[in-house]
Symmetry: D2
Subunit: 159 residues, 4 copies
């Protein structure tokens, strides 16, 4: 079953409202590199995870923080689970946008959702999620840090 | 919940039997490149999809065919769905093995399962799946090709 | 010996003039992804070739054409020679700019030069060149196409 | 002008002797991944630097050391200069070999040479070099470490 993704209102700071759900997403635009393609002539599937990273970093930055600052506190957010579903494909030089928003938070994990789309085309190229935990430099799992809790709270996503 | 992966009997052609399930998997060994790591000092999460590709190509080759031959027939197997779950991490220069096997087949899609592990260490680093469809050069979805059906049948995975 | 790169006048369309040489370069800004880093904590050396690609594509686009259009004519511009010299390093999330310009053109090959720098910091991170030839879909070498000749002529680079 | 590369005597430990020069090279075999290709249907140029890394790591390992051990001493070998020249191209699933050997050593830098070839085909796909320096964790340049000096001495490459 297809994932519809119609964009309604445009908000400041490259945030948008999804028509069907009323949910707020952050948008980050980028262009497909030749390096991202494979011999089938389209974007190699694994590269969508880089696009998700672009979306996640953009969302955190638009929230007034940066993942770099979180790491400067001695914290890391490794991915423990991810999924990507592909509904279409993207070509070299296509202008795409990745939409990202916090999806869930629990005591020791939290997740982001993503949608990748062409501009002005409600057709979704790919969508998915990443689930992260919070660890220190010794790989010890910690409660979700306060910076992340605050970002998620801005989106109304709380435990 | 952790995914246990104990290796029992070793079969010819780098196939092995998983102890708990009795299932047959194909094993492909490789070494982590510096290029695969990120500034957290471990393998960047998206690179496990390359390891899954190594596993999938190795399995097809061990079955006496190759994905290159399938494409020479004008067919492609794009991924429509994938998931990776991470239970541990891998360092630069680690010797890893990716275990792959067919998991499901339907009229117009088919899936592989994967486990990535250190040798001699039942601890799983990552596991997951990819689901593919079969298309022609015009991106038209076709029934699963006979080469793939035959590979899956060898593993007892039929519609 | 260090490569100085001071930026003088800013021109329309993200072109700039290099102070010392008076040469015109095109600038394309981007941000370092986590995916681009390695376990030394800096950008993995091979990824500068992706940054060069960003610079080259941006230059062609700013010249009113696109590499995609060139390929649509059945032409490819494979690299036959490249060099990268590294003078410093870049971290995750750094805002970098790649400066690109045509450097030389001959009957069957042509080259671009690149400089990667932090904004507002005359210190060069890396610089280098790529040399390309022009081939058709059968890998036959052709004279340099007219689109490329026109781009190079705009920069005063002719045979 | 083409770079000939004929392989003469095969030595233990995957070392070979180049016919024309009498030089000893280390060989590391690998297979081209789908992830390595681009929409031109061949290996994306930047990925040859990963193949060079495979060659360099294999050479160091065959010399009884590992780059991982060198880093465990708090030392890094960043690349300060590299060049790749392409004479042909490689397809998905091709079996390639990368040949590597030390080329030069000076008080504060050292270089490796590489040739990438198909098995049983004297035609060179790509060749090039990387030049490295030796730094500590504070990015301070140090004299070339003794481990590297010993590896280079094994190949008759001394200051």
């Amino acid at each position: 079953m297809r994932r519809a993704f119609d964009i309604g209102k445009e908000l400041d700071g490259d945030f948008i409202v999804e028509t069907d759900t009323g949910l707020r997403w952050h948008r980050e635009r980028f262009r497909v590199l030749y390096a991202d393609t494979d011999k089938a002539g389209v974007v190699y599937h694994a590269n969508y995870l880089k696009y998700f990273e672009i979306g996640r970093a953009g969302l955190i930055r638009a929230s007034g923080r940066s993942y770099k600052e979180i790491e400067a506190l001695g914290l890391f957010h490794p991915i423990v689970d991810l999924r990507v579903q592909y509904e279409s494909y993207a070509d070299y030089d296509d202008e795409l946008a990745v939409y990202a928003r916090p999806s869930e938070i629990a005591p020791v994990k939290f997740g982001y959702s993503y949608v990748v789309r062409h501009d002005g085309d409600a057709r979704v190229v790919a969508h998915g999620y990443t689930v992260h935990c919070c660890i220190d430099t010794a790989h010890k799992v910690l409660p979700v840090d306060e910076v992340t809790q605050a970002i998620f709270k801005d989106f109304g996503v709380t435990r």
